[in-house]
């Protein structure tokens, strides 16, 4: 009976998955399992015995009466600590059955060649020698680099700028939008592609600074008091010079950057303002 129940469930999964484009190999596996469930005459070997034979009639979805199967329930780890070996789970919560739902919608796909060509690949390593990684992997931003300190940018270093790059553009943005819009803390264009970093609070020759979302021509990281924010420093390699004017609109400039840049580096930082 358990197998019969499993067969119905798996059939539903397979139909949905197959219609959604699950690869043929996966479909074959599921199909094979279903054939077995129905008591099909698949090949067997001595070392790999088939699961027990054909299902009995009369079982219904979600109701497991097979003793062995009914004692194997999927629960959270914390739940499992409260009882032994999965005994006594609620009726209908059979082994994985209630958890494997047919996928909804189409299967996600890998980026197409066209999408790949248009995308910016995060293949530049961007870091800050001043900001070591925190416990969770994200570097906590020192107050020195916020409005609680000098409000100047930290030193940044990078590797992996592709050959042929005409200029670099650098942004600092709030990861979470503010008022529904992308919030720019800093935007810099015209950075020499031969550089492998910038010093703290010192712009390299030729760099052009845009207006940030604080309506200030420069850098500022200043979350509301008592709030915690994640910021992203983003460096883009541009195959041609865009040459924006000082005080440029960072949002419009970024759109231009994304349209032509094939390589970027990202460095997330977090800041909790007391």
């Amino acid at each position: 009976m358990a197998q019969r129940t499993g067969a119905k469930r798996l059939l539903a999964l397979w139909r949905k998955a197959a219609s959604a484009g699950v690869t043929p190999a996966l479909a074959v596996v599921v199909t094979g399992a279903l054939v077995g469930c129905a008591g099909g005459s698949g090949e067997t070997t001595a070392s790999s015995p088939r699961a027990p034979g054909p299902a009995a009639e009369g079982s219904s979805e979600g109701k497991r009466v097979d003793g062995q199967a009914s004692t194997r329930k999927v629960r959270s780890s914390s739940e499992s600590k409260d009882s032994s070996a999965g005994e006594g789970a609620a009726p209908g919560a059979g082994k994985h059955g209630t958890r494997i739902a047919p996928p909804k919608g189409p299967r996600e796909k890998a980026p197409t060649a066209e999408e790949e060509a248009q995308a910016t690949v995060a293949n530049i390593t961007l870091a800050s020698p001043s900001l070591p990684p925190g416990a969770g992997g994200v570097a906590p931003l020192s107050p020195v680099y916020t409005c609680d300190g000098k409000d100047g940018w930290p030193a940044l270093s990078w590797q992996g700028v592709p050959p042929g790059t005409a200029e670099l553009a650098l942004f600092a943005m709030n990861v979470q939008p503010v008022g529904g819009d992308l919030f720019f803390d800093w935007a810099v264009a015209g950075i020499d592609p031969a550089l492998s970093g910038i010093d703290a609070s010192r712009l390299p020759r030729g760099a052009v600074v845009g207006q940030n979302s604080f309506e200030k021509r420069g850098y500022s990281i200043c979350p509301a008091a008592g709030s915690s924010e994640t910021y992203m420093f983003a460096l883009y390699a541009l195959p041609k010079r865009l040459a924006p004017e000082r005080g440029f609109d960072p949002d419009a400039f970024r759109q231009q950057v994304l349209a032509i840049s094939g390589s970027a580096g990202f460095f997330p930082v977090s800041y909790v303002r007391g």
Partner: protein, 207 residues
């Protein structure tokens, strides 16, 4: 030292050696293996599953897939459980209000897997993980960017529920990590397992 004392000392040393050998033998024999209904798996088996919950957080941006299926081929090799993740079809993946997942796919499959024991707990370690994600959204900091997640991940096996749990604690315990954008990223997931071929409907455990 007289002959009796030498003999006693030698006996004690041999006994200690025997105990040590037994301990090491027990350790060597304690490599975790895949078992069905308590019996070691012979040959190979295919396991399919759908994540009960799974999310991956690149700092500030959590990506989830409503349906995260996986196919794992398992076997015991020299008494130790091994395997390969051969397929990972993903469905309905989302990121945030402003960031959409334009494309996402598991790449470089199969991903080798092995069982290991750390401090009496059994883990499955998946190696060679590679997932490419293309984010979209004009207000998304990663909009228009292809991010590749790589590395290895260890998940804690829970025999009673036949699940593997992956989180920061299990990755640390197994010395594994997943990285994207040059940073360690978080991956939380609860993955049940179910045999699909010869051991269908049999309890899968690791010990």
């Amino acid at each position: 030292m007289n002959r009796k004392a030498i003999s006693t000392s030698l006996g004690a040393a041999l006994a200690a050696l025997a105990i040590l050998s037994a301990v090491f033998a027990a350790s060597a024999g304690a490599a975790p293996a895949w078992k069905f209904e308590g019996k070691s798996l012979e040959g190979t088996e295919t396991v399919l599953g759908a994540a009960i919950d799974s999310s991956m957080t690149i700092p500030g941006l959590t990506t989830k897939c409503e349906d995260f299926l996986y196919k794992l081929t398992i076997k015991n090799e020299a008494g130790t459980g091994k395997g390969e993740v051969t397929e990972v079809p993903l469905f309905n993946c989302t990121a945030s209000e402003v960031c959409t997942v334009k494309a996402i796919a598991a790449e470089a499959l199969p991903w080798p897997a092995k069982l290991t024991t750390v401090s009496t707990s059994n883990y499955i370690v998946i190696e060679g993980v590679k997932v490419s994600i293309l984010y979209a959204g004009t207000k998304c900091v990663l909009g228009g960017t292809k991010v590749v997640v790589t590395g290895s991940a260890g998940g804690l096996i829970d025999n009673p529920t036949e699940t593997a749990t992956f989180n920061a604690t299990t990755l640390t315990a197994t010395g594994t990590s997943l990285k994207a954008l040059g940073q360690k990223i978080e991956w939380n997931g609860l993955f049940p397992t179910e045999a699909f071929e010869w051991h269908r409907e049999q309890a899968l455990s690791v010990s």
